[in-house]
Amino acid sequence: MTWNGWAQILAFSVVVLLITKPIGVYLTRVYDGSLHYLGAVERVIYRCCGIDASENQHWLDYLVSMMLFSAVSMLVTYVALRAQGHLPLNPQQLPGVVDRQAFETAASFTTNTNWQSYAGESTMSYLSQMMQLAFHNFVSAAAGMCVAAALVRGIANRSAGRLGNFWTDLIRGVIYVFLPGAIVLALLFVQQGVIQNLKPYLTMGTLEGARQVLAMGPVASQEAIKQLGTNGGGFFSANAAHPFENPTPWTNFLQMVAIFAVPAGATYWFGRAVKHQKHGWALWAAMFIMFIGGAAVTYKFEADGNPIHAAEGVDVHAASGSMAQSGGNMEGKEVRFGIAASALYATVTTDASCGAVNAMHDSFTPIGGLVPIVNMQLGELIFGGVGAGLYGMLSMVILTVFIAGLMVGRTPEYLGKKIQSREVRMVMLYVLAAPIFVLGMTGIAAVLPAGLAGRSNMGPHGLAEILYAFTSTFANNGSAFAGLTGATYFYNTMFGIAMLAGRFILIVPVLALAGFLSERKIAAASAGSFPVDTPLFVMLLIGVILIVGALTFFPVLSLGPIVEHFLMHAGRLF
């Protein structure tokens, strides 16, 4: 590890801290309806779509609206991808996407996952990229914010199950948060050299005299919402390791900040909405402590490198001053970014449900690769996805408050609202879904020939590849241990199901929880209320999150990356 590397991590942390409040204030105004500078645009959209903006929906109506919107938009994308070969803006004359990948991709982008089993530059036309995938990048992000907004209102207000209006929340999220943010980011990316055009692919001559095709496209605009909406799907197969997507250290830094921007601001928004700003900062602190812990572990193990290389006489220490070796584990990493920026990016992208990558996670050391898996298995609530991070964290907060109540023998109470069995039942439905799907589907793939055939590595690393894929798809992350061959009927279909389950099977109990909480009266805090703004609360919250995650996933992790780590030190690689 180097001072330069730590300085990058520190600078990133400071910037995230500094943007939390302004973004949080802005989000507050977007979702309490007090921001109106695009009111005319809003009204036109409402009129065209027949939306009654004054309707305050019951949580079940809110849920039905979201499911109908998601179902229709997913099916439209499926049909458009299948018919791509007959549609315009296709200068490479790419054929329609095959059925299994069209299903998986439609599910992937509808659920804000952006898992990709295809190479974008050789599979997707410009129309598919801009009208289907980018559309979902905006609306799936805004839909995640809708669920968070509903839960925030459920906690903050007493409204007999009424949580706002899904359609207005969706549209306000798109036009006030994601469109303006994406426009600014795209311009910054273009200034830094990210390409933005609709040209046919270029054929160039290389220095060796060979011919090479350079893929073109509207990359900057896709890149901006991909990061800001924690979507993560790359325009190119190499994602953010591609020099046209991520050309400079500045774009690399900006992309990481964009990933955390809205989720970090959401903690401040929540604090304001419930009139308990210190509690919002307590959530931020819990997220930050887990983030910095993960970044430090990943950076250390990637900087330490592979002991087998060291035994062969390779200088693996970056700080040794050797000019011959960069040090550490550089396999699968961009030389332009190095170890610290790659480790940090991997941590950030898996803390949030982004999934963009600037290095190949499959080539990380076993423990370096373990951290991204654990980040996703904890529920992606370390800042997390846009909206999803906040509602995931609040679900764990309610579990924490419930456990604290059990410890002191009082009826649990959260921000003046009693937490009783029906709220805890919803939290349990939320918590139990991950082990059922991730462990269940990993187990199925680990025993069926169709699942085993996808591995490119044997032993514990092969298991880690399968585990990573189902963890990533269920967590709606979308990053991959790229060693797994997922473009098969078995995996495309299984991953499609995992992504849909990971999104919507979690959203249903969260909206129910929001509805139930909105029916509770708000009592004034008393001496018996568990304070939710103290270091003790932060530590208890982290403890609950880690214990739930450890109890659930430690056995399978011990069979994958953990045993791989010990075998690596015993001289065996996979």
Binding site: L60, L75, D99, A106, M426, V508, A512, G515, F516
Partner: protein
């Protein structure tokens, strides 16, 4: 044929999610604490 299967599976999934929502509401009502505070 596969197209029909994938489209049907999608529709069935979202129908099940709506049913799941009603199931959660029933689970809340069934609870002893399911009454809104007075």
């Amino acid at each position: 044929m596969n197209d029909v299967m994938y489209v049907l599976a999608t529709l069935i999934f979202f129908a099940l999610m709506i049913a799941y929502g009603y199931g959660c509401r029933a689970l809340g009502r069934d609870s002893v604490s399911g009454r809104a505070d007075s």
